[in-house]
């Protein structure tokens, strides 16, 4: 019998080998696999190796949403396999490129199927479609898969209900790596399909499935019957291959196709559909964006995506997802009264079923999880990244409280969701700026050791929090903030020269134009996103000169250090700047 290609689909486990919070160690064609089910039911089939130092992931932890490596606590997300947290560097978001090798998975006939390729799906077997299938004990055999398939044609078993009868068995069908047998005796009939999982060149597992579940009293006798008969078959197969080694065991199989389970277009964008849209609070609409194909890239708490709207605008929105919630990206969008077409489009025109493109998540607001206490401070729609953080902190069992400033109770979003977490939620409703200041000064009065502050919301709230924290003696590094927009009134009146150290080019930046614009005029591609000094994408190293900072991304100490600047808004105090470009 010809061997099917290495890229075919094979069963690698039974569905009940992957109960909640367990990691099953499987193997297919020499590739070791970590098979685990997340709390949302999704079954992950991954290369069984942490990317960091090669430790088997099967000795790690399945926490329900992420797989955690036993060695250094690296966390990998449900579905995409992207790394979400590296505890040795708690202040950094892991690079998007740190992503485990993930294989597609499908559950069918009570078995978990995968492929080392990336296309297609498990075989359809008419006999088992819609049947009340009954899985037999998987039987490992020390023989190559093609030899086992040949022998399975001579397997003799009796139908349930006539186990002691004299059965007639016929081959009812032959698949690439399966065989279907029908046994009849004394007016009873049983159909069985046997799939063969090649473990490596010399070993395989026979996975038998009966098309009908025997009655309760018969279940154990039927299992025993097959255990006995299959063991006899195994002994016969193994004695037939003694002295016939299958040749050198192949190296671990490489993926036949390098296409990722996280497909992106050439611009790096992901094609998504609005799976659900709902009213989250007064003036706030929620959206769940699902991948049209494959999986979405991993994210961390604090991350945002660029949403490319059909009207040509690009807007950044924070993800509100908790760890392991990887089926879709969750956004909450407030309708801005002065909307230039972003939030108003989303509110008025974006409906369930609509398709759009989004960027991979970026994180300028990463959450440290190496502290004993965390203060989250949200103003209005600034709640969104903090909801994701509250999920992660609750999941990790870390103490935290969330102060939520809003105009009134009807403007509170995510109240029910937060209620299900271990978060201590304190709402501050309808406060005047003065009362807000008093509340902020009270909550940051004690800069305890090992405590961090995360604040997101309107510019004045962030500024007031930073001022209050600085006055109470908090170090800059303990106060993390994310502006939705830069409230600074930008001054573009200066003119100066910029020398590019690596490009050996000097350009003049006139009044009214930004460094970024002038560089682009000269054909120099610099990554940039918000272009208002808020997102950090265009951060550039300063080698000489004194930058005139106008961004809100860097903190005060970083501004004073003067060795980095946001070239989309910041300018120069000196006549000349030398940049590391």
């Amino acid at each position: 019998m010809p061997t099917p290609p290495d890229t075919a689909w094979y069963p690698v486990a039974r569905s009940d080998d992957a109960p909640a919070r367990h990691i099953f160690h499987g193997q297919l064609l020499s590739q070791e696999l970590a098979v685990w089910r997340a709390d949302d039911g999704f079954v992950n089939v991954w290369q069984n190796r942490c990317l960091h130092r090669g430790v088997r992931l099967t000795v790690g932890d399945n926490d329900g949403g992420e797989l955690v490596c036993r060695y250094h606590g690296w966390r990998y997300a449900n579905r995409s396999g992207g790394c979400t947290y590296i505890p040795a560097h708690p202040a950094d978001a892991p690079a998007q490129t740190i992503c485990n090798t993930v294989f597609p998975s499908v559950e069918r006939f009570g078995l978990i199927w995968t492929t080392l390729g990336s296309d297609g799906e498990p075989p359809l077997v008419d006999t088992l479609e819609g049947a009340s299938e009954f899985g037999l004990r998987p039987l490992p055999v020390n023989a190559p898969a093609d030899v086992v398939l040949d022998h399975l044609g001579s397997y003799r078993f009796a139908p349930a209900g006539a186990l002691t009868g004299d059965p007639a068995v016929r081959v009812a069908g032959i698949g690439d790596a399966s065989i279907e047998l029908v046994s009849t005796a004394d007016g009873h009939e049983s159909a069985a399909v046997f799939f063969v999982q090649p473990v490596d060149a010399a070993r395989c597992v026979i996975r038998g499935v009966l098309a009908a579940t025997p009655g309760e009293a018969l279940a154990i006798p039927v299992l025993r019957h097959h255990n006995h008969r299959l063991s006899v078959l195994r002994d016969r197969i193994e004695s037939s291959v003694v002295g016939h080694p299958p040749g050198a065991s192949p190296a671990p199989a490489a993926r036949a196709d390098e296409r990722s389970v996280v497909p992106a277009d050439r611009a790096g964008l992901h094609h998504v559909r609005v799976g659900r849209r709902w009213d989250e609070a007064d003036g706030i609409v929620g959206f769940a964006l699902e991948p049209i194909e494959g999986q979405l890239p991993a994210f961390q708490p604090g991350a945002h995506i660029d949403v490319h709207l059909p009207n040509g605008l690009v807007r950044q929105y924070s993800l509100t997802n908790g760890p392991g919630q990887t089926r879709h990206y969750l956004l909450a969008v407030k309708r801005e009264p002065q909307s230039s077409g972003g939030s108003s489009y989303l509110h008025e025109s974006l409906a369930e079923g609509d398709e759009l493109h989004v960027s991979a998540p970026r994180n300028n607001f990463p959450l440290r999880r190496d502290v004993t206490r965390t203060l989250l401070i949200a103003g209005g729609i600034g709640i969104t990244p903090l909801v994701s953080m509250a999920h992660a902190l609750s999941h990790a069992g870390l103490e935290h409280e969330l102060h939520y400033f809003a105009r009134g109770p009807e403007h509170l979003a995510f109240a029910t969701e937060i209620d299900r977490l271990s978060t201590r939620l304190i709402t501050h409703l309808g406060l005047s700026p003065e009362a807000t200041g008093v509340a902020l000064r009270t909550m940051v009065a004690d800069p305890g050791p090992d405590t961090q502050i995360y604040v997101c919301g309107p510019g004045p709230l962030i500024q007031a929090t930073r001022d209050a924290a600085a006055a109470a003696g908090w170090p800059d590094q303990a106060v993390h903030f994310e502006y939705f927009a830069n409230p600074t009134v930008l001054d573009q009146s200066s003119s100066f020269e910029v020398s590019l150290a690596r490009s050996a080019l000097t350009v003049s930046v006139p009044a009214g134009r930004t460094i970024l614009e002038v560089l682009r005029d000269h054909g120099i591609a610099v990554p940039a996103s918000c272009q208002q000094g808020a997102c950090g994408t265009c951060s550039t190293r300063v080698l000489e000169g004194e930058p005139a900072h106008q961004d809100v991304y860097l903190n005060d100490s970083e501004h004073r250090a003067g060795d980095a600047m946001m070239i989309c808004v910041s300018r120069s105090h000196s006549d000349r700047l030398v940049l590391d470009i």
Partner: protein, 293 residues
């Protein structure tokens, strides 16, 4: 097997021409004991002072005799070589008279010697592998430290890590300071702030006997400033720690240390491991590693 055949087992001149530990001196006996070094069967026995005998078992029929191998007794261990060994590294603290010097255990590990060295250099695993002893969540950060090559040895200095209970009499956690030193491709030492005398540092070593490219015996060397603990207590603690590392080491794939930095995913915290891999490449080590080329 003759000496020329040994080089068929390990052809790596850099490794052959080194001293390798094969037993604690205190554990040698007048009855010959067999062991393995770099794929070769060897044996040793104590024949009275000063030095034991070590020989190559080149004929399985007569395991108690064979071509003699060079012998060095240092730091409480018997060292030998299958080549022309360069001088063994110095451990000046070993000669301080009030130090406790002992072998805390010689333990077989189903991984390569360099994987064990690299694990010994690593701080980031303390909260996950040595939970409650050398580290504890959520204190997981590895702060920046310095790594340099001094006189042909790797030195990692200014290393520190949060330790939940730094000493038996300490209450609460504190930052513990470490210095690491790699003076030999398969030997590594650490100097750790001493619980009893803040002016001195405990010295702990891991000397690996590469039995094959993918297996080793780890000799746990202690040289401590400690008047309180019994030998058994010192050994028990070190064996507890190493017993926690062993299953991790045995679940690393591949077992040989990959020297190409692209094969695994190093981070800033791995500065000493990155230097160690580059240093092995520059020395030209090919045994028990996956070379970069």
């Amino acid at each position: 097997m003759s000496l020329t055949e040994v080089s068929a087992v390990c052809t790596d001149r850099v490794i052959l021409d080194r001293w390798h530990p094969i037993s604690a001196l205190a554990e040698t006996t007048p009855v010959p004991q067999r062991t393995q070094l770099l794929g070769a069967a060897i044996a040793h026995r104590r024949v009275g002072d000063p030095e034991p005998e070590v020989w190559l078992v080149d004929d399985a029929e007569t395991p108690d005799a064979g071509p003699p191998l060079p012998v060095l007794v240092r730091y409480g261990y018997v060292w030998t070589s299958l080549g022309d060994p360069i001088d063994l590294f110095e451990i000046p603290e070993f000669d301080e008279p009030d130090r406790r010097r002992l072998n805390a255990g010689s333990i077989h590990v189903a991984t390569s010697a360099p994987r064990a060295v690299e694990n010994f250099l690593d701080l980031g695993h303390f909260p996950y592998v040595h939970t409650g002893l050398l580290g504890a969540e959520p204190h997981t950060e590895v702060t920046e430290y310095d790594v340099d090559i001094v006189d042909g040895e790797i030195w990692a200095t200014r290393c520190q890590f949060f330790q939940p209970q730094a000493a038996q009499n300490a209450s609460g956690g504190q930052m513990t300071q470490y210095t690491y030193r790699v003076p030999h491709p398969y030997c590594v030492l650490l100097y750790k702030s001493c619980a009893i005398d803040p002016t001195r540092r405990d010295t702990i070593g891991l000397f690996l006997q590469a039995t094959s490219p993918e297996t080793c015996r780890a000799h746990n060397f202690l040289c401590m400033v400690d008047e309180e603990s019994t030998d058994t207590q010192l050994r028990r603690f070190q064996q507890l720690i190493f017993g926690q590392d062993k299953p991790i080491l045995e679940n690393q794939q591949p077992k040989r240390l990959p020297l190409d930095p692209r094969v695994e995913t190093p981070i800033r915290a791995d500065k000493s491991a990155i230097t160690y891999r580059r240093w092995l490449t520059e020395l030209g080590v090919r045994y028990a590693v996956v070379p970069a080329d």
